[in-house]
Symmetry: C2
Subunit: 410 residues, 2 copies
């Protein structure tokens, strides 16, 4: 057993405890210790953008095996404002979740998103026009218009830390510029160095105000360029961050993303936990854990639930051997008379009590319960997946686990 608390002075209430390291890959099993509870890693962090995982009670999250959720600084600083969250006792108490939480810096939404999918953006699938709400990036920070009322706001490394301190999540992140995929290397390099200056300012602001209740993640940028990723990795390794997050554009396709992640992971201090920002597809998770990624986040499981889709693993092929996606769309007419649960191996409330046919009806009738039921199933699916991934690492059967959970696209 290897207890790692590399920066004991800054983070006395946090630790990352690696309990098993695979001899066959960089995969490891661990436990993130935070003031609001522990997180078994590798873990999936669910997105509760506006301080709620849409449609689900905290007790339902817990019952589904969830240990940690993420909220977005950008959304909460605009509504209801971080002061309001602070006055109501901080995120964990305010939401009734009372467990480990993670906030991002707010930068991702400001720099990269007008509207659209986080995952698509970092995977290079979106057009990369700067959002119209971004007014200016300058050395001090960035000015942008609120998506709610057009009011102009400014976010700096220091204000991002202050806002995240008010929100009170256990795990918080430095402000960085998330460079789009299509910008050139010169811009990416220049942005990377500014991100590092911002990283130092974030750390300073963090140290100046820390009450030891939070731990700070540094971010590695550098786009698809190996030499820049090396500079990014060296920077974070040298700074007293609690943990690291791999961010930014990861390439134009899954293969390039895997290359960037693998290369970046080869450079990072292995004693610190590593989060892969905005990535969490089932295939991506198997690749990521083999590179040593400890935590993932992605809106995909909860977002597709609200569009009528349930995640399935290869157990589903018994019903349709030609199926080639990670999900089924229950709006499809073929489910009208289907009296099976989504997955008879799934222990969630949805699979225990509702059939595909009934969920199909709920979707066609625009009924709220459809979204709740599918969200709960997809959350349970991801937690079961990560549980099996941990078991697979521990017993060196990760390939077998992968065969069950990944439906081949071929």
């Amino acid at each position: 057993m290897n207890w790692c608390s590399p920066t004991m002075n800054l983070y006395p209430k946090f630790s990352f405890h690696q309990t098993y390291k695979s001899p066959s890959s960089k995969a490891r099993i661990g436990q993130l210790v935070t003031p609001h509870g522990n997180v078994d890693t590798p873990a999936f962090i669910f997105c509760g953008t506006k301080a709620t995982v849409k449609g689900v009670f905290p007790s339902q999250l817990r019952a589904a095996g969830t240990q940690i959720i993420l909220s977005n600084t950008y959304h909460l600083m605009l509504q209801p404002g971080s002061h309001t969250v602070k006055q109501n006792g901080g995120l964990q108490k305010w939401t009734g979740w009372n467990g480990p939480m993670f906030t991002d810096s707010g930068g991702f939404q400001i720099f990269s998103l007008g509207h659209g999918s986080v995952a698509a953006e970092v995977k290079g699938q979106r057009n990369t026009q700067r959002p119209k709400t971004l007014l200016k990036i300058h050395e001090d920070g960035a000015t942008f218009k609120s998506y709610l009322d057009g009011k102009v706001h400014k976010l700096t490394p220091e204000s991002s830390i202050q806002v995240q301190k008010d929100l009170g999540a256990d795990l918080i992140v430095v402000l960085d510029e998330c460079t789009p995929f299509h910008v050139d290397k010169t811009y990416t390099a220049s942005s990377l160095h500014r991100t590092h200056r911002w990283g130092k300012r974030s750390l300073q602001a963090f140290q100046d105000t820390s009450d030891e209740s939070q731990a700070l993640y540094g971010i590695i940028q550098g786009g698809i360029y190996e030499d820049l990723r090396k500079i990014g990795a060296d920077f974070v390794n040298d700074q007293p961050f609690f943990a690291h997050a791999v961010g930014g554009s990861l390439g134009k396709n899954k293969s390039q993303m895997q290359d960037v992640v693998s290369y970046t992971m080869s450079l990072l201090d292995p004693s610190r936990p590593v989060h892969l920002l905005g990535i969490g597809g089932v295939e991506d998770i198997f690749h990521g854990v083999r590179q040593g990624i400890d935590t993932f986040d992605c809106v995909h499981p909860t977002r597709i639930a609200r569009h009528g889709c349930a995640l399935v693993n290869s157990d589903y092929l018994q019903y349709d051997s030609s199926h080639r996606k990670d999900h089924i769309n229950l709006r499809n007419a073929r489910f009208v008379h289907d009296t099976h649960p989504i997955d008879d191996q799934c222990p969630c409330e949805t699979c225990h009590t509702l059939t595909r046919g009934y969920i199909h009806h709920l979707l066609k009738a625009h009924e709220l319960l459809a979204m709740n039921a599918l969200t709960l199933h997809n959350i349970t699916f991801m937690n079961r997946l990560l549980n099996d991934v941990r078991d697979g690492i521990r017993s060196e059967t990760l390939n077998t686990v992968e065969q069950r959970w990944v439906i081949s696209r071929a």
Copy 2:
């Protein structure tokens, strides 16, 4: 103890067991026995219009103390169609509820509602233009256009029974014409007699096809006219219905509604259970149970939840002694920093884990969880209310119970 199974031959699997009769009013405590379980009366029947109480899992309904729910024949015959429900095992199995259920005849929506509130209509508060979707009322039945696709459908006493048989609820209702408040006495009388002819046809269709799994309610119409209500009551008393439902326009205000209900109840066979259709305000329930009403239904608790409102009783006056409504609207800005639960005496998940301030945020941010949380609270509120009503009847303390649950409008 008084076991009543007045029409043993038609309803061998059903009974209405009156366990206590108040010496001071017509209030009684009982148990409705159905093939899917028992219902303690007086009871509130929650509206699951399209075969779902919006946003709530069956397990959450049960945990909140719910024993019976109602679905609407009109909505389900149009979507997904009663054949689909039948093929999927019937309402109780299809929905995963597996408990007692009630369906109406479909007539109410066809005759009285374009869009709008059931409660407002029967209380005479709506304009009473016939809905544009109603094409014709004739001796055989009624033709109407689907609200979904404009397709023309016909509903007759026989087809309503057939549709309700396919849906499979335990308690079903004869087709009647629900006359609007503003029609004259001549029309009301003529409609009443047609409703009786339809009632006999419904009974015949029911008897011809019964497999003993359902019990049939007769309906008393007659509008606000005592002599017509008398004719309506005599009719149902004479027919082998399992139970009675008081329907139709109940007047232009609460006082007139109470008069119509009191008068009608004085005429009905006291051995049969009585349902008050579409009425279930907190005050109405106290008046109704004193007249001998056994079950109520109303969309109010679940509908106002989806508009941001939580039901409260007079315990709430400790926070705002000037409050004069049966609910609080959590969209109101005064709740931003409110760290109290809606009701600290309420055992629901919402009151146990979420504060008024957080629910306010969820509403302002258009978050799904707000609707789920408020629906669950309002369901729990109604079940607690009816539980206290039963206790109050049994212990002759109904006036004290009423003081706690009804917030005076004065």
